[in-house]
């Protein structure tokens, strides 16, 4: 068996488990449909009133919004309730009974948490936005079919985004070893993650003076990079650089998470389970 076998087994078990929550996924789909429509209307009004050329055209904006609605759950905006329960009850110490690297184990679980429910919601959203909207005569508002290179670049970028998002979520999980409750981190995370990733307003539409900062912060890799590669707003020739940017941030955050966890575990074993 490969060295990774235990971790992939954890991912797949948790993934299958989370796929059970279909009703929640449907509710999420409906909510996100609603918000997607509102965001589109606001941005359309904005474009109608804007003077001069904008950094993204309307087709690119429509793609950006629908992809965001489809993949909202993949943003590191909350923590795993299961994990929270484990920390408050002290059961988290029992994870040390497994012959696994603790960070790897938590990363595997979190990767499933971050992606499983997203898959459930993304599929109907894409079907709706790409296929149903044109059928209703709303082709102008539909998620455009990507070019082949755009699709390939997008798939690579969204995979990198999933790895980055998981690393950030694991960091939030690790912080609970000190705070013992996910309350604080659950309130802080969404406000800056949704803004800095581009989920609220596409990042290119922010003022010019903010662009240098926005282009270097890690959250950009979560939405802005993959969605713009999809629509071709980031040309495919630059895609590799952008994906490398996302992966570099992932490495930094994983490294920091491992460092923090090693201190956290010392604390854990000192205080007892």
């Amino acid at each position: 068996m490969s060295r990774l076998a235990p971790y992939t087994a954890v991912v797949s078990a948790r993934y299958r488990n989370l796929l059970q929550y279909r009703a929640a996924a449907f509710a999420g789909f409906v909510t996100q449909l609603f918000w997607g429509s509102i965001r589109l209307m606001i941005l359309a009004a904005f474009y109608a009133a804007a003077e001069g050329p904008q950094p993204m055209n309307m087709v690119e904006v429509v793609a950006y919004v629908w992809l965001g609605q489809a993949l909202l759950g993949m943003l590191p905006w909350n923590t795993d309730a299961d994990f929270k329960e484990q920390v408050t009850s002290g059961a988290v110490a029992y994870d040390l009974l497994r012959p696994l690297d603790l960070y790897g184990y938590w990363y595997a679980r979190t990767l499933a948490f971050r992606t499983a429910t997203t898959t459930l919601r993304a599929v109907p959203m894409v079907v709706f936005a790409m296929l149903l909207l044109p059928a209703f005569g709303l082709a102008e508002w539909a998620l455009p079919v990507p070019s082949v290179t755009g699709l390939i670049g997008f798939l690579a970028a969204i995979t990198a985004a999933a790895l980055l998002s998981t690393a950030i979520t694991v960091l939030a999980h690790i912080s609970m070893l000190w705070t013992l409750s996910g309350e604080g981190v659950d309130r802080i995370l969404p406000s800056f993650v949704t803004i800095l990733s581009g989920m609220i307003v596409p990042l290119p539409l922010f003022p010019d003076w903010m662009q240098p900062f926005l282009s270097w912060q890690p959250f950009r890799g979560l939405c802005d990079v993959p969605y713009r590669i999809y629509s071709g707003n980031i040309p495919i020739t630059e895609a590799a650089n952008e994906i490398a940017f996302t992966l570099a941030w992932t490495v930094v955050i994983v490294w920091f998470g491992r460092f923090l966890l090693s201190r956290g575990v010392r604390r854990l074993v000192v205080q007892g389970g």
């Binding site: 235990p6 488990n17 029992y94 007892g272």
Partner: protein, 370 residues
Amino acid sequence: MPRSPLERLEARQGRPYTARPAAARGGQSDGESSMSQIEVRNLAKVFRVAERRAGLLGAFRGLVSRRMRDVHALAGVDFDIERGELVGYIGPNGAGKSTTIKILAGILTPTGGTCTIDGLTPWRDRRRHAARIGVVFGQRTQLWWDLPVIESFELLQRVYRVPEGLFASNRDRMVELLRLGPLLDTPVRQLSLGQRMRADLAAALLHGPKLLFLDEPTIGLDAAAKLAMRDFVRTLNREEGVTVVLTTHDMDDIEALCERIMVIGQGRILIDGGIDELRRRVGNERVLIVDFEEVLRLAALARELDGDGVRDVRVTGKRARIAFDAGVVAPAALIARVTARFEVHDLFVEHPPIEHTVADLYAEHGQGEA
């Protein structure tokens, strides 16, 4: 005809529960076989606990300067456990049992002392150690709550990197011995406590550990489930040579299973020996139970037996319970006195329930619950 797991095991042909070969468990060398399997020396664990001060003012002062108090959960514990032993580890709540088990399992780091298990230090070589041991905590399941039992098992196979053939034979063996067949497709959260404990036991043994820690494995179980659990643990120990360290509050577990008992109180080992040793330490109390041919009056019997060594006499109908100290009056002498005076139908001598013995011991060390 219902048969016990032990009987079924004896009837079984082939398909032995297989421990993993030493090489697969990470280079456990034969050179270590001269050592005890577990060697614990002067093990200490101090927890620092923040003390809360009473009242609002106290709460504010606590914000500025916290008063810390040291709690000595373990204050120098020594013992050796040999391969193939089945050791009962008992003590009142808060005596340090669970702390010891957690240190031995590698999830807690002691403040002082050493512990070597098969050549490894549990908390330093955590991952290698974890792959070699099995642990069951009666108070919480280690199965994945939402997964069917069989999926938990398959996940554990990958987590412990158990080769397919070994996994299949261990799994089938556990399913048979613990009667898990009908439960395999049930999610863990739907199992009864007894079923869950059986599944947990199997889960802890799928990777073929030669050392098993059981922390209160019979807690909350009904009588039948307890008996099944004991049968299984006995089989595992006697037939497979698995070393078992068991903590419990149920003295029947101890009497049924353990040849050796360690009693811990206030962070120290008070007694380490057989059940007889435990009884000797708290006196030689015995109870003589006599069935007379006719109904007796208590006063008559009490008057007749009044004397050295007899502590208590109770009569219900034709039966009398006479508690006495075997160190003062020999059982034979007491029986002779009774049979000389009265028509006796039947009689026998019994030990007092071990619960009393242990409660006495805890009281002696100022750690009783009551």
